[in-house]
Amino acid sequence: MAASAIEDEPTRRDFVFVATGAMGVVAAGFAAWPLIDQMNPDATTLAAALTEVDIGNIAEGQIVTVKWRGKPIFISHRTATEVEAARAVPLSELRDPASDESRVQKPEWLIVIGICTHLGCVPLKNAGPFEGGYFCPCHGSVYDASGRIRQGPAPYNLYLPPYKFENDTKLTIG
């Protein structure tokens, strides 16, 4: 190319070149999005979002598992001593500080997602050093009767699902 062309840079041709390239990148991004988003949860998965449970026949001290959105939900009918023990713990002792009061709607009912916050295993119910607590057999995380992480590698307390007590015996999760 002639020397004069170099002195005149940036030329109209450079501008068109860069603009075309930029538009190409934008177009590639739009074209890629459907290919990426198709992997997200589909409409049928999103629709299966409500689970109704009859809690009338869950005895005190018993923890039952129900399925919601493909995940296990633990419904724990806690004893008075379990609630007392959970509420007596100072927040400073907790890795993921949360009061027991903030984790329940009714003191005797703890409803948590039964998935260890470490790597997604289902913890064992009524297991581990805490009465009414949970123990994950995969990597040894220990949760108390409030579903709070107390020992082991998990970083957070067991998550709480959205739920509502319709009446004394009927619970809706979701």
């Binding site: 990426i36 992997m39 997200n40 949860p41 589909d42 998965t45 598992t65 399925k67 959105r69 493909g70 995940k71 296990p72 039964g114 916050t117 470490h118 790597l119 997604g120 295993c121 289902v122 913890p123 994950c136 057999p137 995969c138 990597h139 040894g140 082991g152 590698p153 998990a154 970083p155």
Partner: protein, 417 residues
Amino acid sequence: MSGESTYVPKSRLAKWFESRLPIIGLVHSSFVAFPNPRNLNYWWTFGGILSFMLAAQIVTGVVLAMHYTPQSGLAFDSIEHIMRDVNYGWLLRYAHANGASMFFFALYIHMFRGIYYGSYKSPREVLWLLGVIIFLLAIATAFMGYVLPWGQMSFWGATVITSLFTAIPLVGDSITTWLWGGYAVDNATLNRFFSLHYLLPFMIAGVVVLHVWALHVHGSNNPAGIEKKTDKDTLSFHPYFTVKDGFALVCFLVLYTWLVFYVPSYLYDSDNYIVANPLQTPVHIVPEWYYLPFYAILRSIPSKLIGTATMFAAVLIIAFLPWLDTSKVKSAAYRPLYRIFFWLFVACCVLLGYMGSQPPEGGYVLAARFLTVYYFLFFLVILPLLGRYEKTKPLPVSIYDAVLGKHGHAKPADVNP
């Protein structure tokens, strides 16, 4: 793949074809006339073994896919259908499942050989990086393949490994949901894993072509760790190395077929003969043996984010070997100190594998922590420092000298004095 071809087509048809597509000449120069260092030992036969195993996995895998159903309600039964009803289905499945183990067995020997003889050093860094990419693809492929039978270990292995991504701050949960295609491992996950499990081996095959291409630019490293200079240093690929590779392959196949025909379920977790149950985790989740060292590293650290990051780092650090090892001498045969630390590293990896197979309690976790520390010390401290302070032994003048003695006598000299 190796410069000028010495192939001369004889017939008129061969001349006509070669002048239009010189592929016979390419094969001839790469796998017939190609000059290999004459001192290659049997540790150098695992590249050929791995090529064979990749082909065997693709062939058995394509056939198995003709009978398998990637649907969460049907997958488990379709495996039993293959085992009981399909003609030779039991053989094909056992060959494929054990073939994955044999692939990793050969791959780890191939990698340790590269580390012992410094095969990653200049001018073979890109060759090494391509190998690391093959390793990563093989890890992903085998992981997704193990999910397909949809047993308890398939399901919970998939759950634990995909949940590693929840450790990523802020976007971790969204990424995991995206990987799953739902709020837990389910049919959508199984479908996409099957699709990718079918795709990735062909990507591995593509990278293998690049790996061999890069290899043939400078040729193989060798036990002496010095470059070939004259024709006296080399022998032609055929018949010398085709026969050597062939013999090693047959020995390897004895082990492989013994596994397939005599103890086909030895390496398989019996929990995987229980159909996947999303509400019940098996008491003891163990990955396949070839992931155990990395699994032990993950579990040795009592923090989810740091544990996950450390495990990925343990895999990726292998890619940085060419720059972490500062020694100019390639082969451990001339590096007395390095040789000790190398074998400690091998022992460390094997012991980490053992710790990964044990429950995550007390002494096992503590031992895994010490081993994890050595694993990273080897790469980050020992290798850079050894290059500076190690007193290496004098290198032979040429490969020919290393093999046949200094004065050209046909007397075998010890390359490993």
